[in-house]
């Protein structure tokens, strides 16, 4: 409960901070709409030329794009801003400002993951849910409760996997504070815009097992459009749990290397 109350306070403080810059609001609006337009048009252009690719049609791919937009929105809502504050040349680890995070009387991993919010991302969340909604109305079969449950479970697993990967990258910052891990990850994460089935076999394996960004969007989209096996469901939940444990361990291990900055 205490942690929930803290989250509310963090979110409120971030909102007040962000509301100060009104011009940024309109620019953010523009960015979000452009992101939506390029994503949707990209899918439409592809399926203007072809009906289905490896079992993926326009509706299923649109649903996947919706999942991608929702997950990205959740990322920029709090995971991204909080964890990215650690990395880079002006990041907290490099400058030694991480001292103030360590000294607070709450769990460090919790604080590092939830302290900064970007409330504007709620708008992106609405857009993503909109794309998902449109895709669902186009589905040929009716949506059952089983579908919805499977979708929610796999979506939760997807967000957890994303969090674990970002946390692991944040942990690596303690070894190499200046490196642009987020830039590298952004590049790889973009591949989750399209279903795994649209990539060649070797890359499918990489995006499932090495950097599992493919699982984040493909499995929930499959669950929603009605072609997910029990194995895939259990597999993605298991993977999420394993990655979360591994990433937390890496983060805590990295934490011990932190030696502040010389003044």
């Amino acid at each position: 409960m205490r942690y929930l109350r803290l989250i509310v306070h963090f979110a409120r403080a971030s909102f007040q901070e962000e509301a100060t810059y009104q011009a940024n609001f309109y620019i953010g609006l523009l960015h979000s709409l452009l992101n939506l337009a390029t994503g949707v048009l990209g899918v439409m252009v592809l399926f203007g030329q072809i009906e289905t690719v490896n079992g993926w049609n326009l509706t299923a791919t649109l649903a996947l794009l919706g999942v991608y937009l929702v997950v990205s929105a959740l990322r920029s809502l709090f995971l991204g801003p909080s964890l990215e504050a650690l990395a880079g040349m002006d990041g907290e680890v490099w400058t030694g400002q991480f001292d103030f995070t360590l000294l607070r009387p709450v769990d460090t991993q919790f604080l590092a993951s939830f302290r900064k919010w970007h409330p504007f991302a709620l708008f992106d969340l609405v857009l993503g849910l909109g794309v998902l909604g449109v895709a669902v109305t186009q589905l040929s079969q009716t949506l059952t409760a089983t579908h919805l449950v499977a979708f929610l479970v796999t979506l939760m697993a997807g967000v957890t996997i994303l969090y674990a990967i970002l946390l692991a990258f944040a942990g690596l910052v303690f070894w190499s504070p200046g490196i642009l891990f987020t830039w590298v990850f952004d590049g790889i994460f973009q591949m989750a815009r399209y279903p795994l089935g649209l990539y060649p076999g070797w890359l499918r394996l990489v995006l499932t097992w090495v950097v599992p960004v493919g699982v984040i969007t493909t499995v929930p989209a499959q669950a929603l459009t009605g072609v997910v096996s029990v194995e895939a469901l259990a597999g993605s939940a298991g993977l999420a749990a394993a990655l979360l444990i591994g990433a937390s361990a890496l983060f805590r291990f990295g934490l011990r290397r932190y030696a502040s900055a010389s003044s």
Binding site: I50, Y199, P200
Partner: protein, 263 residues
């Protein structure tokens, strides 16, 4: 104009960027991913068939050339010029006995060299794995070079006049983000322009964005007939004249307003 000083500046910037090549390689990796995604998606979609007149190998060739052309014509200077103006660092450039254009030009040249050191080996490796089909005729090769040069100049000066709007508006770089989105959609990244839906295709042919990236790629991969080639060059040259004129006007008027904030 002090050209000797300009050359010295170009050499110095080049040497300094090579020192930090690891950083720039990571940036180049991030820029390579979007065209790479569309390379994989379109070549998987084509499979053993042809889509819009292109087969799998031709898609691979198109996008491999596009990765190089996109990086060669990309002007990251456009993003930094605005910062120079906002933070008052333009002072340093204005007091030099050199045209400030040389500063932009020097990072352009340095950037191309460093990014190509990363891109060329990767494109060669991808070509060995993905087996592109590229039949270069002497006509295509000869016309490719001027089209690439004009594309770079057009993309540079088009971005430059937009970036110089920072003399008036603090967040002019939002317009650069719009430009990037339009390039993504209309310059042949999301799909070769010939494959866009009819309405979007006519818009793409008239607007300047195709002539910044897609046009040289179409020239080299032999997608254009003679009339398409010459109308393309005419439109490219026309837009370049407009971009140059706007750059000169915006610079002349804007620099008078410049008051060196925080300098």
């Amino acid at each position: 104009m002090n050209h000797r000083g300009g050359l010295a500046l170009i050499k110095a910037t080049w040497a300094s960027w090579l020192q930090h090549r690891g950083f720039f390689f990571i940036l180049a990796f991030g820029w390579m991913i979007p065209p790479l995604i569309y390379l994989l998606v379109w070549s998987t979609a084509a499979g053993g068939k042809t889509l819009g007149g292109l087969n799998r190998g031709e898609f691979v060739a198109y996008y491999l050339v596009l990765i190089l052309v996109n990086q060669l014509t990309y002007s990251q200077t456009n993003w930094t010029v605005g910062d120079l103006i906002r933070y008052g660092q333009m002072n340093r450039l204005l007091v030099r006995p050199l045209s400030p254009l040389y500063d932009a030009l020097s990072s352009e040249v340095a950037g191309k060299v460093v990014y190509m050191m990363f891109d060329v080996p990767i494109v060669v490796a991808l070509a060995l794995i993905l087996r592109p089909e590229l039949h270069v005729t002497p006509r295509n090769a000869l016309t490719f070079i001027p089209s690439l040069g004009l594309a770079w100049m057009l993309r540079f000066f088009w971005g430059y006049w937009i970036a110089l709007l920072a003399f008036w508006a603090t967040r002019a770089d939002a317009l650069l983000a719009v430009q990037d989105a339009l390039i993504f959609l209309l310059a042949g990244q999301v799909a070769p322009v010939a494959l866009l839906p009819a309405g979007l295709r006519s818009v793409a042919i008239v607007l300047p964005f195709r002539y910044m990236v897609g046009f040289p790629v179409e020239v080299l991969t032999g997608q254009l007939d003679t009339s398409g080639l010459w109308t393309g060059f005419a439109l490219q040259a026309g837009w370049l004249v407009i971009a140059l004129t706007l750059s000169v006007i915006v610079w002349r008027v804007g620099v008078k307003r410049y008051s060196a904030v925080g300098g």
